[in-house]
Symmetry: C2
Amino acid sequence: MTDATTMLAPPPVDDEPAIAERIAKSVSCADGKVLGLDEFHRWFAACAERNYTAVERVPLDELTGWATHPVTGNIVHDSGKFFTVEGLDVRLPDAAVPSWTQPIINQPEIGILGILVKEFDGVLHCLMQAKVEPGNRNGVQLSPTVQATRSNYTRVHQGKPVPYLEYFRDRSDDRRVVADVRQSEQGSWFHHKRNRNMIIEVSSEVEVLDGFCWLSLGQVHALLHEEDVVNMDARTVLSCLPFAGAPDSSRMRDLLAWITEARTRNDVYADRIPLNEVTGWQRDGTSIRHESGKFFNVIGVDVRAGGREVRRWCQPMIEPIGIGVVGMLVKRIDGVLHCLMHARVEPGYVDVVELAPTVQCTPENYTVLPAAAHPPFLGEILGAGPARIKYDNLLSEEGGRFHHALNRYVAVETGIDVPPEQFQEYRWVSLPQLTDLLRHSHYVNIQARSIVACLHSLQGTANR
Amino acid sequence: MTDATTMLAPPPVDDEPAIAERIAKSVSCADGKVLGLDEFHRWFAACAERNYTAVERVPLDELTGWATHPVTGNIVHDSGKFFTVEGLDVRLPDAAVPSWTQPIINQPEIGILGILVKEFDGVLHCLMQAKVEPGNRNGVQLSPTVQATRSNYTRVHQGKPVPYLEYFRDRSDDRRVVADVRQSEQGSWFHHKRNRNMIIEVSSEVEVLDGFCWLSLGQVHALLHEEDVVNMDARTVLSCLPFAGAPDSSRMRDLLAWITEARTRNDVYADRIPLNEVTGWQRDGTSIRHESGKFFNVIGVDVRAGGREVRRWCQPMIEPIGIGVVGMLVKRIDGVLHCLMHARVEPGYVDVVELAPTVQCTPENYTVLPAAAHPPFLGEILGAGPARIKYDNLLSEEGGRFHHALNRYVAVETGIDVPPEQFQEYRWVSLPQLTDLLRHSHYVNIQARSIVACLHSLQGTANR
């Protein structure tokens, strides 16, 4: 037998710090090398004028191209593709609300959310898109280069090809992967939904099509501070950037053990059921509503989208009731920004628990829920004065499935103590630890990814 | 707004290298500080004499405590706990065998596989157990400190308490987590089965009960070279040790992107169905067999286990047909040992694909499968001469569910080239990369974890 010890020599030099440095350089490039922010705003306003959607509510029973299955009551597209609205039977034996049923979107296809990046004058820029979605209250939002379901890019709806898709589907010598990880989406509204979050760097020339522009990370970060400009898909992809700061690996081990413990402690049974077996929800031909009037409605819309190509389609959408609060308590520990993460169960998650922001709720829903279900720390967040508020903005969830789904995203610096024995579902997690977790699926939920992207944006705004 | 840049200072000093060094020290401690290997063998033989199982085959329909559900045909324990034998309907649209149905074990409970470690004379030792399982062909095998389903430790079967369980369930100042991660088990026989793999270090005194002993990692590694001594549960826990060698992070990023790609490329639909809707399998009152006579049987056993406490119970088991081959091609790249991993789909996995050894098959099954389903590289492994064979041993799978499930585990050094364009499902992955992946669930399958544990054992045998 040969000397096996020599088989375990250290690996060669790593180029990861180089990427992290280049990301930091782009973050600190406040006004870009291609298009200044003033110019961007004129361009964006012009895009908004050229691209519009007219969204009209129509009864669920009258959605062209969609049908209600005669046996299950599920709402299904005639092609069998896109997504279906089904029922979910949820049991959480140890929770304050131990069981319920609800409508849920089942979209098994894994789509691509991709941002193409390229250096200009030695600074990385992102190819961003001014994209209109039917659920956006303001029409156009800043979106990733590519935002496509598999039905989109295999062209089930016979539309034009998805621009720039080839950069994310085909490998070539002029491209390198900066990030490529499937991440979950809203576990209260989707069953096992995942999208592939990709960042691809290209070194060769790229043609800039109408509706696209190159922005530095510093510029995108500035736009994250404007109301409802950067869409959810862009935010989740941005959160997956390999920012600097390797986490302490023994603390990482303790964090992973805490997640394992939370996933073992919580029993979740979430079974898909026919939509017509859902109880507590009222369905007429027009919509599906919870009998309390809270949570969300399932509605139908007829969409006319204009721009270079006029398209018209109908689809069901989820319309949340009320504006949500996504609140993160933050604190410096040994100089490093930490977030108070919540190991949160949502019925649509693939793996029981994901790390959520400290608070993620729609306050008015709690009027119909038991007191034990009320979120801790909500008062600490809503009661914070301006000096403690590090970030505060209204942002939308995905406009392709959700109708006017608005959340107030807020980060509040706190001095409170969170004793682990009292709050076993909560834990201080550093930004570098979150960056490390975000290399993998199923750890950090979509709302947390949004606010993490916003927290990274604070780096460029130190002097504001 | 305060200066957010200072929030991102580097974290404090890491103690991870210290743990890796202490593991290496224990690996190089060939004969332990507590019990020499000769003494161990005498002790182990004495345990085997005191602890026995008498396993008698009984018809499935006559299993005391189990019943066949009148509607579904599922085989269910009277308590509703432990596990059930159900059916699975599998569709893999792009695979050589695109669809089939099969019996499968559904065991949603997450059990604990835990090894307690403690320093003696400055060297870490593992508290190992001589444990008998009904499916073991040789009675007693070397097992983790704790090996318990939740039904075990919540005492559904009214047995005695599980010894040492408190070290894995309760935190205290004299204990620290070395590893704690849920890992999958056989995805061809289990639906979404996961166990919690835990390694806990204790600093206080520990009473050594009958049937337990302290061994250094060097000793456990030596025993991994003896035929069928170290059981599957011990091997999977050992594979999760945080061995030395941080992987290159840009290569890690490429590896994760390749896994994302494999998980996106493969569509897997695996739906639980009633056992009596499974086709191609013959069920009489005695057993369930595939009509080809291949793959596996579901059988019933009546077990009498003796030792300090005599217990008797009946249960269904899976009895594989034939001896499997678990083969890993290995190669040094830049001096580091790499394994040729296979991104393998198994229907019972939670997340589509896990990394499997180069070859994992029962050769005789392929007489009834299409040629395209035959495993590549099997010839390279079975045809290797002794100089290229780095590890070669017969080891068992879990004796609690599987009856005489034997695999030949073999690692072969190779010089062959594996062009990625020709073998997109295969990739060279270094041992440090596998160690890094093993901090997380759903990446490295049970067979690969076994052989990874064996490859680590080569470190201590350099001079053999």
